[in-house]
Symmetry: C2
């Protein structure tokens, strides 16, 4: 089987060194004296090698053997454990959220290299990625005792963390959760009773303990999400030496048999079957008004998981793309159009193959730019002391998050399908990497809030914040960029299209505004408006990078070994602007017609 | 596990009884005195029941157990054999191409019910579907001896037929085949030597013999596809009693481990390892100019397989759609937008869910209409004596075939992905039907000529036939329909959009015409032009059906049990016209800009 790890570090270096202003992050109090921009090449290459040599070898086992469920235990292939401990033991894990760790990396850098680990074995990601969020919440909201008992083990990855929201009857609608927490008399300690499902890594044989962050309702708290509190619920209660002690009455009732991510256990978790499951409250109990803190706390972690989903789409699409490029340059088939008599050629010479590859390349670079720029804003929010930047960070984090989650994960599916198509019949064979990626990536539009939930978040909450001012400020940053560069040499057509599209996009917002009073209409168009927003923003970022690349091309000249990379950045921006942006105009047309057929449709037509 | 067979017969009854003029077919010499329009309900329901009760039960085994390869043998689960013989023993197999079979069905009807069998177990289709094409070629081009030896066994399905084109180094480029045929001295008999791959059903343990129709080059024949001849190459040579006799030196060297269609064996077939493999020529040997008849013969079968691929996309998308409707009407989650206080509701009430379901419904009905209307033209070409209809049949068969193959199979993937999304987390679980359908359907854009090959066929051959006259006649039938109905009450907006889109589509053709002299440009846009053509034609067919449905609604009145069906047909047409057609305008914009970034891209940018 061909190696599944085919990433390049080149684009990440460009993003971190030539595009995003990482200095602003490295110069903050948190990172001063630690790593600097000069170290980025080494950091990226080192992680890349680790992904290739220590993580990628576990991928086939994860997918082919997968998880087994036997007598309440989840068994993972041995290579999973090795890969997990490679990541956490080499400074890539939750140690980075430990404020005392002087070798910690900014999240912008960290997530750049997480792309390699995710791509190297998509089925592994759920075991190590939630540790940081879990540790971060205990760090920020836990009592001193909780911090002492859990943080060192979570930081080091000896114990893993999970997030437990979903229940069989409460998926998208978390507020309908029925898991209960009953006070024990001991401050902060509760008895937990209930069942959660779709818990990634909820049970496994990799770490000696598992720390569940579980949403539950304390008796008397408000209904809906407002009344949910967050609890630390360990599989084993830490003993006096900080080791896993008594079993905490948590059972895994089963795992899902899944389309993809087969190495990742997706568990049904039962709390307190014997009435002895103890959970430890994060923050304060609900006030007299019944309002609890759990959802707001969970959202700190959730927002990171949403960005992770978009970046995972990027990782798998990039993996599929690089593999397809390799295959297309080796597979001989047909003759070149321009000169058929020159004999058979590699299929990378064929027009539709080039189109499919450039489609993938441009999208992957847009995904990566979106996700890493947003992580850069996370760093700014967490560490910068500049009040103006801080204010901006809020804007970008609020708006960017649902777009990164939903647009990147949706468009990634299309990219991977195109990569698979590049392989012809071999794309359908599990001997080549496209098939697994096609299966694995299908989860990202679903978990961490379905993409419809993201769309509702964008149009229902984010676009209406402060009477729409926040969102308009976000659009304005694209508008200002387009106007400032409309005469940029060689990009006149691209900026003409971008400006024209911005006009159409504003028209979409206006039409949508008019529909706000018609029940159901904003919801009906939510997904499509999110996609349009993603495309618009994607083009902006690609052009921003292309302007830098163009300068670099002029500086380096055609014979420089790096010329092709910059040329490729320009090609991505050009292709995306000219081929993808016009789709936004089509949505404008649809919205103007204001079709409401789906709303008016009687359910009976679906059964007839 | 929920039943995987959830088709309805309602739309097929509408298509065959209220829309397509089946009388024209039943009244031909071939079918006169046999079945009539009155029998259609029974025929469809009977097949539907068989699909549910005798074919669908084999689906789980096909997917979960799949094919095994042991010592040169392919082992299928026992339920596969049962399902196969249910189909061929009940008059649904190649008996329908036997001119003497008085109970034979027109292909229009046959393929309507094949949709049920394909949906009931997608992994079974490759074992029985090729028998007809194989028998048809021997019937039309075989010597009397070949007909005597093979036809009864193929008609009855006791023996199965396969088509063997692809070779490891010659996939899309069939002309580069290297399989050889050496004359034996005995008239019509040759020694075959070579290797074919991706041969569906090339080896199995279902039938007692397998008849390979194999493309090979007789020494001295022209290079490329022109020099290929077609041979009947049985696994076992028929003995004097017509039973499988001596082994014919055909070996299965292995099977593919695939993303989907796991019950279907995809084989590497080796001919003549011991120099004893005998093949029997169909038609005449190559003339002195080296021109052979094999490709033209094979294309008779291939065109049917291409329509099959589009119809298979339809079958699986329909299956996913009906299952999703069921799930969405049972799954309780969230509250209705218009009245949140009314409490939790089934997710089918949610706007995005309704949009996704209507998207699927409209597309499935467009796929089905396209495929069955094209099969109707096959019946007309095969059996009608009306010279004008005959002439039209050629036009429609030439143009429709690549569109049915490529647009339906591509858009089906999108539909199935939407169906999977409707299930939320359960969509990613293999316990629900969406996951398998998502995997299985991924083959249709690849096999029987990739969708890029179809696009090249459309724009390179079909659009240029008789200087474009043939294609313009095809577009004209849409134009005339739109103009004739532009004032149809209740559809004014739809026809306005259709007419507007036709204008834009003509613009696309004109722009494309201008690119004909620029090497690579037509190829670069081929896939997108095919998709646009599919959408335009799809809207036309949906509207044609909607006009009939609207009349029926008025006749029946709201309280009639069948009202919802007709209402649904109108909703499909309305949704598709208003939401999908505007995408054609976006392609027009892209083409006008004439982006050639992908053509100009140096290959090095993909490796940088």
């Amino acid at each position: 089987m061909p190696a599944k790890f085919s990433h390049s570090t080149r684009d990440h270096k460009f993003i971190l060194k030539e595009w995003l202003d990482l200095k602003k992050v490295f110069e903050t109090e948190r990172f001063k004296g630690g790593y600097s921009v000069e170290d980025l090449d080494f950091i990226l290459e080192n992680a890349w090698k680790g992904a290739r040599d220590a993580v990628a070898p576990s991928c086939a086992d994860s997918d082919h053997i997968g998880c087994r469920f036997e007598n309440g235990k989840v068994l993972t292939p041995p290579s999973t454990k090795d890969a997990y401990f490679f990541i956490v033991n080499n400074g890539f894990g939750a140690n980075n959220v430990n404020p005392e760790d002087s070798s910690a990396l900014p999240v912008t850098v960290l997530w750049a290299l997480y792309e390699y680990f995710i791509a190297a074995n998509p089925g592994l990601q759920t075991y190590w990625l939630a540790n940081s969020g879990c540790a971060g919440l205990i760090r920020d909201f836990g009592s001193d005792e909780l911090k002492r008992a859990y943080l060192p083990m979570l930081y080091s990855g000896q114990w893993s963390g999970t997030m437990d929201l979903t229940e069989p009857q409460a998926g998208s609608d978390v507020g309908d959760s029925t898991t209960k927490a009953v006070p024990t008399g001991e401050p902060g300690a509760y008895l937990i009773k209930g069942t959660k499902c779709f818990i990634s890594g909820g049970e496994q044989d990799i770490t000696e303990n598992i720390v569940h962050l579980t949403l539950a309702r304390i008796e008397g708290a408000a209904p809906g999400t407002r009344g949910l509190s967050l609890f630390v619920v360990p599989k084993y209660l830490p003993d006096e030496n900080g080791k896993p002690g008594a079993w905490n009455d948590i059972t895994c009732a089963g795992i899902e048999h899944k389309l993809g991510l087969r190495g990742s256990s997706t568990c049904v978790i039962s709390y307190g079957d014997e009435g002895k499951c103890r959970g430890f409250l994060l923050g304060s109990p609900p006030g007299e008004d019944g309002m609890a803190q759990g959802m707001a706390q969970m959202f700190k972690m959730m927002n990171e998981e949403r960005l992770m989903s978009g970046l995972s789409g990027c990782a798998l699409a990039a993996s599929a793309y690089h593999s397809a490029v390799q295959y297309c340059s080796e597979r001989i088939q047909g003759r070149p159009t321009a000169n058929p008599k020159s004999g058979r050629c590699a299929i990378i010479k064929h027009e539709d193959v080039k189109r499919m590859l450039l489609f993938q390349k441009a999208h992957v670079e847009a995904f990566r730019a979106m996700a890493l720029q947003t992580f850069w804003w996370v760093d700014i929010e967490n560490h910068s002391t500049d009040p103006e930047l801080h204010k901006q960070a809020r804007v970008f984090l609020e708006i960017n998050t649902p777009i990164v989650k939903a647009w990147c994960s949706d468009a990634a599916l299309q990219c991977i399908s195109e990569a698979l198509q590049c392989y012809g019949g071999y794309g359908f064979s599990e001997e080549y990497p496209a098939a697994e990626l096609y299966r694995d990536a299908r989860i990202y539009p679903i978990w961490e809030g379905t993409n419809y939930i993201q769309s509702l978040d964008l149009i229902g909450r984010k676009m209406t914040m402060k009477k729409g001012e926040v969102f308009l400020a976000w659009v304005r940053h694209i508008q200002e960029f387009a106007e400032a560069n409309k005469d940029a040499a060689g990009f006149e057509k691209e900026f003409e299209i971008l400006l024209g599209t911005l006009g159409k996009y504003m028209g979409i917002l206006k039409t949508l505004q008019g529909y706000l009073t018609v029940p159901g209409m904003p919801q009906l168009y939510a997904t499509r408006v999110l996609h349009a927003t993603g495309k618009l923003w994607g083009a902006k970022l690609l052009l921003e990078m292309a302007l830098i690349a163009k300068k670099k091309m002029d500086e380096l000249g055609k014979d420089h070994f790096d010329y092709a990379f910059y040329q490729g950045k320009v090609a991505s921006a050009r292709f995306f602007t000219r081929n993808i942006l016009p789709e936004i105009g089509a949505l404008g047309e649809v919205l103007k017609t204001g079709d409401s057929t789906a709303l008016e449709a009687q359910e009976s037509i679906f059964f007839a």
